[in-house]
Structure formats: structure tokens, C-alpha cells
Assembly symmetry: C2
Homo-oligomer: 151 residues x 2
């Protein structure tokens, strides 16, 4: 669909904080976190030792938002026509990994945690094994629910 001529990305550089360890590759990766969950495959966030201290205070059972960098997705697609949608739609109106900044995010639950080694197990994740991780945030109803909806 419509690809923009956007030039090189010239904004701030990210730090990769670790890698996702999942069962998935290009041939079998679930299309979204719901499908990943249905397939019952937990995933591990392998946080680089340099960043492991930043995990302090997280706990098992807690819902967190994981941000990951979809490094094989396209950054120049502004309008797309995915099969499940009726007609073309802008990338900011879709959760497609193809977008100007190929950040995907899911809200998942921590099932095990070792802050010394930097290993965080979560109930599911919908990305390829080895996908770069860029952030973990506690999910908070006051910030993450739409205004007017209560948690």
C-alpha cells in the first residue's frame, strides 16, 4: 500500500534492554497476543545484566506493558490494507508492526521473576525469538484504561 518517502530515521537512538525468548519464528508466529495466549506458550524477557537493577520492585502476578522493537517490520508503510480490516487504513489506526517506529506492545502478566539474572517470565508474547526489548512498564488503570472506564 502507500509507502512514504520518509528519509532516514534521525530521531533519538534507543537502547536495547534485552531480548524476548519465545517459541516463534517467521513461519509460526501468532498474529497477536490473543492468539499467542491461546497457544499456551509462556515467554521469557531476558534482560541484559546492565539493566537488571531496573526490575527491582516488580512482582509475580503483576500486569506489565512490554514494549518491543519489531526489527523485521517496515517503517515506510503509512497506509495498509490488512486482510482482517475492511479497506485501507493508516498505520496509526492499526496495531500492525509496520509503522514509522516499529514498536509493538502488549499487556502481559509476570509469572516468574529473577531480578539478579534479569529473567522475567510472562504468560505470552507475540513476537519472534530474539526480538529486541525496549521497555517494561507496570500496567496502571489510571494511565492505561481509556478515560471514563474504571479498572
Amino acid at each position: 500500500m502507500a509507502a512514504g518517502d520518509l528519509g532516514p530515521a534521525d530521531g533519538p537512538a534507543l537502547r536495547v534492554i534485552g531480548r524476548a525468548r519465545t517459541r516463534w519464528g517467521p513461519d509460526d508466529c501468532p498474529k497477536n497476543i490473543g492468539r499467542a495466549r491461546e497457544r499456551g506458550a509462556p515467554a521469557t524477557l531476558e534482560i541484559d545484566p546492565a539493566f537488571a537493577p531496573a526490575l527491582r520492585g516488580l512482582s509475580v502476578g503483576q500486569p506489565v506493558i512490554v514494549l518491543y522493537w519489531m526489527d523485521r517490520a517496515r517503517r515506510d508503510l503509512l497506509v495498509q490494507a490488512p486482510r482482517h480490516v475492511d479497506g485501507p487504513r493508516g498505520s496509526f489506526a492499526l496495531r500492525s508492526p509496520n509503522r514509522p517506529n516499529t514498536i509493538s506492545q502488549s499487556t502481559v502478566r509476570i509469572t516468574a521473576l529473577d531480578t539478579d539474572t534479569g529473567r522475567v517470565e510472562v504468560d505470552a508474547l507475540d513476537c519472534y525469538d530474539g526480538t529486541p526489548l525496549i521497555d517494561i512498564k507496570p500496567w496502571l488503570p489510571s494511565i492505561d484504561l481509556p478515560p471514563g472506564e474504571t479498572g
Copy 2:
């Protein structure tokens, strides 16, 4: 608190897709989206014309997740002791803008939209005027609610 010696950020470079237009500066910026909402000040997402086509398909009333780059926050703080929290806590256990990648996000509601000019008005935003925007995503209960909670 504990600042890490993390070296330069050497991951993928972001594209800045636009700027937040808010009433806030360093002296009066609300600490979080709840406070921003209480103060009743809508905000505008000024999307760069090059990226405006990616807004197609969004609609007034829709909840969206806005990702913004907190360009004055610290990237080397791994453990912090904010006043509202009991003792030091890792940056991944907090919503502080100080984190390895200074991405903040809030779920807000679109109150007006012009996809031609790239102006998206939202009910509130808790960042300084001029803050770089990096993504807009439709909020979807199947991805953004914790597992086991229904929308």
C-alpha cells in the same frame, strides 16, 4: 539514586512523527495523566504532514495510546526513590519518565481530528509543550487489558 554507566545508546533510531501541543512547561506540568485530566486542559497532537496519511481510519471518541519521547528525562537512572513510593524501586517498576528509553505513554480519547492537516485533539496529556511524539495506536481491550480482565 543508582545511575548506571550504560554507554551511548546504540539501538535503532526513532522517527519523530510530530509534537505535542500542551499548556504545560517545566513549572506547571502535571505529574501524570490523571492530574492533567483533572486540570481540564485538552491537548493537540500535531502530526508532521509526512505522517498524516497514517491517521486515516481513526475517529472522534476513539481511545488511543500515545507514545511520546520525554526528551528532558534521564536515561541512566535504573533505580529511583520517588516521593510517592515507599523506598527505592527499579525504573521498570515505575512510570517515571526517567528510564533507559524515555518513552512515556497514556491512553487518551480523541476529541477532534483533521487527517488532512494532521491535527488530533485529545482529552489530556501530561507532557511539556513541544514534546516529540513517536506513535499513536488504537487502544484494544484484547491487547491492552491484563490477561483475564474483560473490557
